[in-house]
């Protein structure tokens, strides 16, 4: 019998598989997707938020534990578990040597991402390169990897994992019979439910306009995070944490593909212009703070607008000052023409922009600082980078909410154990998006998902191995190795 079964194929699953295998356990990893799409949302990631007390290879200055914790506290509005958060934070300061030993390479921040040179270590080549490296290392170490293997059910015996069930399925025209895979311990790391349209619909419901908002959401990540396993665990009575509508949500280009649009569909010019909804009205302070500190709230903001639509409007002055978008903007030499092309109410739109223009109090424009250009007497205000939109051509980029991953998950503790009625399972553990909601009740800050996934993936792997006799028992040094 396999010692440790890992369900999932992203960063957290791979970290767990590698740690369990390093502890001496025999490990099998089941990835629901075909090989070509392996890695879950990790293939779209690019960095790890890292605590450090002094400069470390690619990281400049220091990012101490307390500052990291305060940042997390701020973005989650207190919806976090301090103990688990601090475990993830501390683990981020020491896990990179281990990551490197499995073939992950780091590089200084990418151009256009210098603002995180202090806090985030970038993966060379991005998350897919990381996933490739981990899979290579896992296979070299003898982890058995199976693709196209969707676990549909978990067999439990009073909170103890017994076996995973794989439904009958077809791969490239070949039929595979239903299968029962026994293991002595198991790690669940199969992602959130962001790609499950029905579940999103159920979670978001119908709004006061009679719309089903989630029908207009795009999914930035993998199409394979359908939450089948998460749903099954909830049905089996696992303790749950988080609000199903909470997620890492960004405003992305409305023309992005339904799945796997990834990083390049983001629109980075919001703070340089105005954002209007379908009715041609502004609805939020576009210049509240630096865009990297605000991008994660705009998904929800747009989700609250009629038709879950908005348009980021800039003029010629902004060109070259933001990361180039993947799709070309709609351009026009007049605001009227722009409104016509976007099918916005022309008069209303022009008035919105003109009101904004005349409310701008322009000081010294500097898009690299919280400058003194702001509006006066305008609702909602624009606090920084407020410059009248007067220089044609004007550009518009359509926005829609883009879900990165959902926060509803399984409640856990510092051992990453799945809990039933407050009782920790002796051999069933959880990592990655399936439990990130313990730390992230809402909000997001760059690189935190990978920090949680790496920390709890490694803990889950060690704990799973320890639960079947490899390494020492929980709450010992071996476990501390993965967490401190």
């Amino acid at each position: 019998m396999i010692d440790v079964l890992i369900i999932g194929g992203g960063n957290a699953a791979l970290c767990a598989a590698l740690m369990a295998r390093e502890a001496g356990a025999s490990v099998m990893l089941l990835e629901a997707s075909p090989k070509i799409w392996r890695g879950g949302n990790s293939q779209h990631t690019r960095n790890l938020r890292c605590m450090h007390d002094e400069p470390q290879d690619v990281l400049i200055d220091a990012y101490p534990e307390e500052e990291y914790w305060q940042d997390l506290l701020k973005v989650t509005g207190g919806l976090t578990d301090e103990k688990l958060a601090r475990i993830a934070i501390r683990a981020s300061s020491s896990c990179r040597d281990w990551m490197r030993s499995h073939g992950v390479h780091f590089q200084p921040p990418l151009s256009g991402a210098l603002h995180v040179a202090r806090t985030n270590a970038f993966f060379m080549g991005g998350g897919k390169a990381l996933v490739n490296a981990y899979f290579r290392s896992a296979e070299r170490l003898g982890v058995k990897v199976r693709y196209d293997t969707q676990v549909t059910d978990i067999e439990l015996d009073e909170g103890k994992f017994v076996a995973a069930h794989v439904g009958e399925h077809e791969v490239d025209g070949q039929r595979f019979a239903a299968e029962r895979i026994e293991a002595r311990a198991c790690v669940l790391a199969a992602g959130g439910f962001e790609s499950n349209r029905e579940w999103l619909r159920e979670a978001w419901g119908q709004n006061e306009r009679g719309e089903w908002p989630s029908d207009n959401f795009l999914i930035r990540g993998t199409r394979f995070n359908t939450g089948i396993l998460l749903r099954r665990m909830l049905d089996l009575g696992a303790d749950v944490i988080g609000d199903p509508t909470q997620a890492h949500m960004v405003a992305i280009d409305a023309r992005a593909p339904l799945y796997d649009g990834g990083i390049c569909t983001r629109i980075d010019c919001v703070s340089l212009g105005v954002v209007v909804n379908r009715d041609g009205e502004r609805f939020y302070d576009e210049g509240e703070d630096f865009w990297p500190k605000r991008y994660a709230i705009w998904g929800r903001l747009v989700a609250g607008q009629p038709g879950q639509q908005a348009y980021s409007i800039i003029d010629q002055q902004a060109i070259g000052r933001f990361m180039p978008p993947v799709f070309p903007g709609t351009t026009a030499s007049t605001l009227q023409d722009l409104a016509r092309q976007l099918k916005l109410p022309q008069e209303k739109f022009v008035k919105t922009v003109e009101d904004y223009n005349s409310a701008c109090r322009v000081g010294t424009f500097d898009h690299t600082a919280l400058d003194d250009c702001h509006t006066q007497g305008l609702m909602p205000a624009k606090s920084h980078w407020a410059r009248p939109l007067v220089k044609p051509p004007f550009y518009a980029y359509p926005l829609k909410p883009g879900v990165t991953f959902t926060y509803l998950g399984l409640a856990t503790d510092e051992t990453a154990a799945v809990h039933f009625n407050g009782e920790a399972s002796p051999n069933l553990f959880v990592a990655g998006e399936m439990m990130a909601g313990n730390v992230l009740g809402k909000g997001y800050t760059a690189g935190i998902g990978m920090a949680i996934g790496t920390a709890f993936g490694r803990i889950a792997g060690v704990q799973a191995a320890a639960s079947v006799g490899f390494g020492v028992s929980p709450a010992n040094m071996e476990f501390r190795h993965a967490t401190v």
Binding site: H105, L110, G126, C264, T265, F322
Partner: protein, 385 residues
């Protein structure tokens, strides 16, 4: 040659062909992603642009070393609907540029079926020298004491034949790369900047910097695993070639300055250089061919395999025939061996400006442009907020 001409060859914006449009489409996606910036020079060069003109595309295509790293790391590679494959898109444009900048331009057509071009040139070279040998000797199997091949072809005849063909090849390559340079490099730069840029570009060429993957573990070949063997075999090929070139150069100096004519003994500088270079030029191309046969089919342009393999094979045969000539020069096969070696060398020289050989010249120029450009302020001030 004026390298830093601020005048671009045409004031009009050229219409992109299909291959160029594909690079433009993919670069727009990459420029919005930028995950691959650490791998090589292409992506840092890309971030200095918001739009990609034909000149930019020609430059970037030649900057790409087809290492494969960005393809295996790409979240937008097929089956993703964005279907990004930079090594392939760049390879296609690269071939177009070799053909387009070839001099005289009509000769660029030889790139269309380059494997055939090389085969015909080789066949022609062999036929020529076999016939010449027969005409001069009456047969192919006469032993000449001391292996003095000048008894068959006098020194001055060979010097004139090969000197003029080689001279033409150098001229053609120079004219080609000059047109390329003028097209892609309208920006003038101060001399100290150019000097340090030249040093960096030379080091990048000599070390084959951009086959190191950015992390020193090498580039990709069969799969997402990194390997340094492509770089090593290329080094053996390149330095083997340079040593053979040095052997010829030293021999020429001996001939004219020391009045010491070939054949030289084994333990003489020209022969030692030739042996060392010849061995490199055997192992290097053999290794490159072995890797090429195992190359991931998604890398580069499948249609260019005949060009690549033809060139590798020709290099291998030039070296093998040279070493065989050395080994057998005291036997009756001297005439035959000499004819074969000279025929292959002639084919190599003749096709130099119209074969894979050109990649080294265009890539060096692109690396120089990159070294100059990166020393200047980035014109795009994107996203630093």
């Amino acid at each position: 040659m004026q390298l830093f001409d601020p005048q671009s060859s045409s004031g009009l914006i050229p219409v992109l062909n299909l291959d160029e449009s594909e690079v433009q489409r993919q670069m727009t996606i990459c420029n919005a992603c930028r995950y691959c910036e650490g791998f090589c020079a292409v992506f840092p060069a890309m971030t200095r642009r918001l739009e990609f003109t034909q000149a930019d595309i020609h430059y970037l295509a030649n900057l790409c070393h087809n290492c494969g790293a960005c393809l295996h790391a790409c979240q937008y590679a097929a089956p993703h609907e964005f279907d990004v494959n930079i090594p392939k898109a760049m390879a296609k444009v690269r071939l177009d540029t070799y053909a387009e900048y070839a001099w005289p331009q009509m000769m660029g057509k030889l790139y269309q079926r380059n494997g055939l071009t090389l085969a015909l040139a080789s066949g022609g070279g062999l036929a020529l020298f076999l016939c010449l040998t027969l005409m001069l000797m009456g047969n192919l199997f006469t032993t000449i004491p001391g292996g003095n091949f000048y008894k068959i072809f006098p020194h001055n005849t060979l010097a004139l034949m090969f000197g003029s063909v080689f001279g033409f090849a150098v001229l053609a390559l120079t004219m080609g790369v000059r047109r390329f340079w003028r097209n892609v490099s309208p920006v003038a730069a101060p001399l100290p900047l150019k000097t340090s840029a030249v040093l960096e570009a030379t080091a990048n060429v000599a070390k084959l910097k951009y086959l190191d993957g950015g992390h020193g573990r090498g580039c990709n070949n069969a799969d997402d695993q990194f390997t340094l063997w492509r770089r090593r075999f290329h080094h053996l090929t390149f330095y083997g070639f340079m040593l053979c070139f040095a052997a010829t150069g030293v021999a020429t100096l001996f001939h004219y300055l020391l009045k010491w004519s070939a054949p030289y003994p084994i333990f003489s500088l020209p022969v030692m250089l030739g042996i060392a270079g010849g061995i490199g030029l055997l192992i290097g191309p053999a290794g490159l061919l072995w890797l090429n046969l195992r190359r991931n089919p998604a890398h580069g342009d499948e249609n260019q395999k005949p060009m690549d393999r033809g060139f590798i094979a020709l290099l291998f045969l030039v070296s093998a025939s040279g070493l065989a000539l050395l080994a057998l020069r005291e036997t009756s096969t001297l005439g035959l061996m000499l004819a074969i070696h000279l025929g292959l060398v002639m084919a190599f020289f003749l096709t130099m400006p119209y074969s894979k050989f050109a990649h080294g010249i265009f890539r060096s120029a692109a690396l120089l442009k990159h070294a100059i450009e990166k020393r200047q302020p980035n014109p795009i001030n994107a996203g630093s907020d």
